[in-house]
């Protein structure tokens, strides 16, 4: 640590300070506990809701039960997490910078040889570390609880969903929320800014992401079409022909059950990253103009 450049020392110091602030305020940790409850309970509720459509074959075959669990847990965890990531993170992260100004910490930090860019980066990374650690905890513990409550499911799809959908949207929302609030002098207005941002993201981004997620989960079922037919025929040989025809019709691209995604994920990531860079640049300019200009 002693040989680190001063700039890294400052950055790690800011990240640690931000992590401690969030931990002591309890808002973000508490919301993550509630998020975990949502992810853990969502699968069970959805499964109970879908209980009426579960066939005897699904109940008898462990393979079909696993596929069914993957479908329900994947959909419920991703829907619950997207709502939490958008609405809760936007509101809670918005007060990060205004709180510094309200407490007088900003003036104190300004008296140190600490640049505006480093200050913003430290704050942003502090929030992101908190979010990443929280999401790893929610994803893994939530998955474990779902495994215990609902039975086996496909961890690959579950992990893919957390890594490529929920984590990027959580980082994008929390980052934009932190950076946009640079203009606020007091934390009272921060929740309103957070809600405004959440609504904009919910309207413009979330439908595309949910569409993509539903498409991926359905694709997963589609990939296992032959296995589904095989298992159904094994458990109900008398109805094999009817079941095969029904599955083939339901799981064909023309069938209603398959809604393949029309959204390009890399394109969405690019938009999110570009937004963060632009808003970050504007936040830096604003700080420079307000505090140095």
């Amino acid at each position: 640590m002693k040989n680190q450049p001063a700039i890294l020392h400052q950055l790690f110091g800011l990240i640690r300070y931000e992590l401690l602030m969030h931990w002591r305020r309890r808002g973000l940790p508490l919301s993550m506990v509630l998020w975990l409850v949502g992810v853990s309970g969502g699968g069970l509720l959805l499964k109970q809701g879908l209980g009426s459509v579960e066939t005897a074959a699904t109940l008898q075959s462990p393979t079909l039960a696993r596929l069914s669990n993957t479908y329900t847990i994947g959909l419920s965890a991703s829907s619950v997490s997207t709502i939490f990531a958008v609405f809760v993170l936007a509101v809670l992260c918005a007060e990060t910078l205004p709180l510094d100004r309200q407490l007088g910490a900003r003036e104190w930090l300004q008296s140190l040889p600490l640049g505006n860019a480093l200050y913003l980066l430290g704050k942003l990374l502090g929030v992101w570390v908190m979010v990443i650690v929280g999401l790893i905890g929610i994803g893994s513990v939530g998955g474990g609880v779902n495994r215990l409550l609902n039975g086996a499911f496909d961890w690959g799809l579950y992990g893919w969903m957390w890594g490529t959908i929920i984590l990027p949207i959580a980082l994008c929302v929390s980052g934009l929320s932190v950076l946009l609030a640079v203009t606020l002098a007091r934390r009272r207005l921060a929740p309103f800014l957070g809600v405004g941002l959440a609504l904009v993201i919910y309207i413009f981004l979330v439908p595309a992401l949910l569409d993509h997620m539903a498409g991926q989960v359905t694709r997963f079922i589609f990939r296992n079409k032959d296995l589904i037919v095989q298992e159904m025929c094994r458990s109900q040989p008398a109805d094999c022909q009817t079941l095969t025809a029904a599955v083939a019709e339901g799981l064909s691209p023309a069938g209603n059950a398959v809604t393949l995604s029309r959204v390009s994920l890399p394109q969405l990531f690019l938009i999110g990253a570009a937004l963060l860079v632009v808003v970050g640049g504007l936040a830096w300019l604003w700080l420079r103009w307000r505090e140095e200009g």
Partner: protein, 230 residues
């Protein structure tokens, strides 16, 4: 000529709690109504009145979380030293907040009347009045109980988002939760159930607001010297 004392007091309180949130809410409702009204009928997923119904309770509750949050009220010790009790100050701020937010909501409700397929004015007001008092009161109570403004904002956001997107499913699954669904649609239940829902929300809302006023009477607690989180 100097304006009356109550008007000056109102202006000062409005300045302290902030006039921007009701103004922002009014702008959001105006934009929402304009967007919905200008959309073709087949693209209207929500009736215009639901815009007002969704925005007003959220605005009231988020602002209520910070009107006297012990962790962000800089002159808290000075307020506690005033002759006027702290519950009086909180009540005054809450009433000012409601006055400003409801003025914007009434204007938006009146605006919905000119749109096609509009409901009666009182039906529109019933959609947001009780829910606003309910979530606003809960937010106020949570903040005074935990001494943290952010907890009120968090609870409000979760309650609002959860019931907006999952409230109907909640009532369908657990019918006993019907009285607590803040976005219950009058067309989906009987008139008696709807009136029961609005009355319960109103009574609970006023009850928890009184609870918050009771909590701030203990100044030592508000200052973090006893109980709560210091």
């Amino acid at each position: 000529m100097q304006s009356p004392l109550f008007l000056r007091y109102f202006r000062l309180t409005a300045q302290i709690i902030g006039w921007f949130p009701p103004l922002g809410g009014a702008v959001a409702m105006g934009l929402g109504l304009a967007l919905v009204a200008s959309a073709p009928p087949e693209a209207q997923t929500w009736p215009p009145v639901r815009i007002v119904e969704a925005i007003v309770p959220l605005g009231v509750a988020l602002q209520a979380a910070f009107i006297l949050a012990p962790d962000s009220e800089a002159p808290l010790e000075m307020l506690c030293a005033l002759r006027r009790p702290l519950d009086g100050i909180l009540l005054n701020r809450m009433l000012t907040l409601l006055l400003m937010q409801f003025a914007a909501a009434l204007a938006a409700s009146a605006a919905t009347m000119v749109l096609p397929d509009s409901e009666s004015f009182f039906a529109v007001v019933a959609r947001w009045l009780s829910p606003s008092l309910f979530v606003g009161g809960l937010s106020l109570f949570t903040v005074q109980l935990t001494r943290q403004g952010v907890f009120g904002a968090l609870m409000t956001t979760l309650l609002w988002g959860g019931l907006l997107f999952g409230g109907d499913a909640m009532v369908a699954r657990w019918p006993f939760t019907l009285p607590f669904h803040i976005f219950l649609q009058p067309a989906s239940v009987s008139l008696a159930d709807y009136v029961l829902n609005r009355c319960v929300l109103l009574i609970v809302g006023v009850g928890v607001t009184l609870g918050a006023l009771y909590l701030v009477r203990d100044e030592e607690r508000v200052l973090g010297l006893r109980g709560g989180k210091t």
